[in-house]
């Protein structure tokens, strides 16, 4: 069955500390992986997609097909990174997105 697992519902770190938000997926084909972010009272917006292989706001994510993971990392967290982060995948370019339940990241000063 298609599934995205984000094991941490809540994650707190201090400013300047490294942060890693975990994501594992279950899908038989070759999915396209995404991280979406939702800042307080704002809409879901794309943070990263695995095919772009880019760093946005200092965040990176590497697709590990062997472990079926797409963890989101940032070496030095900032207070403005506090938000809800959703991992998602789709099986085709026009297909539905499958979301994880989200991880609420809080970065303390």
């Amino acid at each position: 069955a298609q599934r995205v697992t984000q094991p941490e519902k809540l994650l707190s770190v201090f400013k300047g500390a490294p942060v890693e938000l975990k994501c594992n997926y279950s899908y038989s084909g070759s999915p396209e992986l995404f991280w979406y972010v939702q800042y307080s009272r704002q809409r879901l917006q794309l943070l990263l997609r695995h095919i772009s292989r880019e760093s946005i706001k200092g965040f990176t994510a590497d697709l590990n097909k062997g472990e079926t993971s797409f963890h989101l990392k940032k070496p030095f967290a900032q207070e403005e990174d506090s938000a809800m982060y959703y991992c998602a995948f789709r099986g085709s370019t026009l297909g539905r997105l499958y979301f994880g339940r989200g991880t609420q990241l809080t970065v303390w000063p």
């Binding site: 809409r43 917006q45 026009l94 297909g95 539905r96 997105l97 499958y98 989200g102």
Partner: protein, 114 residues
Amino acid sequence: EPEVTQTPSHQVTQMGQEVILRCVPISNHLYFYWYRQILGQKVEFLVSFYNNEISEKSEIFDDQFSVERPDGSNFTLKIRSTKLEDSAMYFCASQPITDFNIQYFGAGTRLSVL
């Protein structure tokens, strides 16, 4: 920057009533989606729409739900007879046909069924 617009931001209705949630996708986008998120749960896919017909629907999207693109700009989700369990945040998304073909989300409509 263009955005997906959803109205209303909050809709309160009585059980059994019909509701229509409205979305204005980004103007050059051709693929449209509805998702919902029940409080404390995952964002779940409802339906996708292209070329004036449903492309895909989930098991949630039963006969009580329908979608329509009544004109060139609006994309609506209708729930015929609302149930308490329909209370959720409903998100509309649209996607272009370009190299950067990602889904752009609206801010959502919070539906409260009493």
